[in-house]
Point group: C2
Chain length 290, copies 2
């Protein structure tokens, strides 16, 4: 495809796979309550991706609160979500002039009609566009090869890596890993606990505040780079969103420095094409044996 045809085919913010799959529908008779059909397109093995779930709940809170952007948002993952219908109930905790606070829970109903809480979220929203433009960042962007010199899942040997099976989410992402952190796919993890890559969306949609919530939890887990092979379920994930991302793929750098007692932290830095630190996140996850 030549460049102009590619540009014409690119999805846009508001009209893309990500936007359709995070669309929440307000119940007219229940203020603050939203329905969503969790898409099977964002699963890894059987599990709905935690970043996608956070983006879904973040979108409901954006609708419910007077501000658009999650400055800080924390999710506790209580039970594993399944693709299919879910309901989100939001609560406006405090509506201030520059910051508003809200809480939300996402529930799914089982075959016996029992409602189970999947994820509980608390957040403070504001307007990133209204912040003063002072920037005194001493953090530096991750040192990694350019997009073209990183590796996609199509470069991996057949059946390689610790997660064979359905990885639908990879079809929705434009993910290219730094080869230095991709050794686990051929049985040679670095042991450092790092994971770095370029992250776009497969349909060419640029990032916005909501898709950054997906971005912080979209790379393979750092545990793979530590030589662990099992599932790494998130207990809690907190994201600080610090500016709106510039167009183009993001650079996402994950690090784990404390694997102990069967638990590990996973820190993410997200940088945009303008070399701005867009987001910082940290999650606490469990390291399960394979």
């Amino acid at each position: 495809m030549d460049r102009m045809a590619y540009a014409a085919a690119r999805a846009t913010i508001g009209d893309s796979e990500f936007d359709r799959d995070t669309a929440v529908v307000a119940r007219p008779d229940e203020p603050g309550t939203y329905d969503i059909d969790l898409s099977p397109g964002w699963t890894i093995i059987q599990a709905v991706n935690g970043g996608y779930l956070l983006a879904v709940v973040g979108r409901a809170l954006r609708d419910a609160l007077p501000h658009d952007d999650p400055f800080t948002i924390t999710a506790h993952y209580l039970t594993a979500s399944q693709p299919g219908p879910a309901v989100i109930r939001t609560e406006t905790v405090r509506a201030g002039r520059t910051l508003s606070s809200g809480q939300a829970s996402l529930y799914q109903t089982d075959a016996e009609g029992r409602e189970t809480e999947r994820i509980r979220v608390i957040a403070a929203y504001g307007d990133l566009g209204a912040l003063p433009d002072d920037v005194r960042t001493s953090a530096t962007p991750p040192v990694m090869p350019g997009y073209a010199d990183c590796v996609g899942s199509e470069d991996a040997p057949e059946g390689s890596g610790p997660v064979p099976g359905s990885t639908a989410i990879l079809d929705r992402l434009d993910l290219r890993l730094d080869p230095a952190t991709a050794g686990w796919a051929i049985g040679a993890p670095s042991g450092a606990g790092d994971m770095r890559g370029w992250l776009g969306l497969a349909d060419g949609r640029d990032h916005d505040a909501l898709s950054v919530l997906l971005a912080v939890d979209a790379l393979p887990p750092t545990a793979f780079d530590l030589g662990l092979k099992g599932w790494v379920p998130t207990v809690e994930l907190t994201v600080h969103l610090r500016c709106r991302p510039a167009p183009g793929p993001l650079r996402v750098a994950l690090t784990t420095r404390n694997l102990a007692g069967g638990l590990l932290e996973e820190d993410a830095q997200v940088w945009d094409s303008a070399d701005r630190l867009v987001a910082q996140s940290r999650q606490l996850a469990r390291a399960l044996l394979a």
Copy 2:
């Protein structure tokens, strides 16, 4: 005082200023609801310290939940707390075998009898003593002088520093700063955004899981090391507690790497005398002009 007399005079976990000032009283007729008298002993200027508040709410959750230790705990600071009576309402979100999740809010009542929410907390509790003893920490303890070569507030020149006024909390802490991060007290901040120190409790009580919640927010703000002089109110604070601290003062190292748009992150690492990384925390704070 000789060493034996000093040892005899030391407060112990369960019988100390910190324990008395965080004592929550369960209402017999309202399960999960607790009364507390917020002590004026943990204020800085007029504000009740955010780490003390988190410890108070964390203690109520310890009582309400089936597990003792906050593995991950997030607080949103909604309005400024005052010394005096407060009520804490807890909710058990999910009680699992190894992890339980809970939520709590602390309220105070104003002169007109209106209840105002001060802080909302969500947490996952477990049993740190029951974790497997694997440790693969690649983080390293902060490089800083020994306790005797760090500086206490008694070493500061009269009226120095950006926070003259009542600092009651300093009487409860045994805080000694790395001189490299104390230059702000004489008008010479390093500009790096670092703050490091040894932190004990003034009455000699050793640290436990709850006092670590205090420890992550007990040092002067990194903003002082960046040359800012105003108040730095916390929007949100998340603490991951990873092991029970060994006896003796803790080393607390704070860093800020992204001051932008009037907001900054403050990361803390807490190390114990056994060189274990006890806790990691991050807060999002506002940088207000002096």
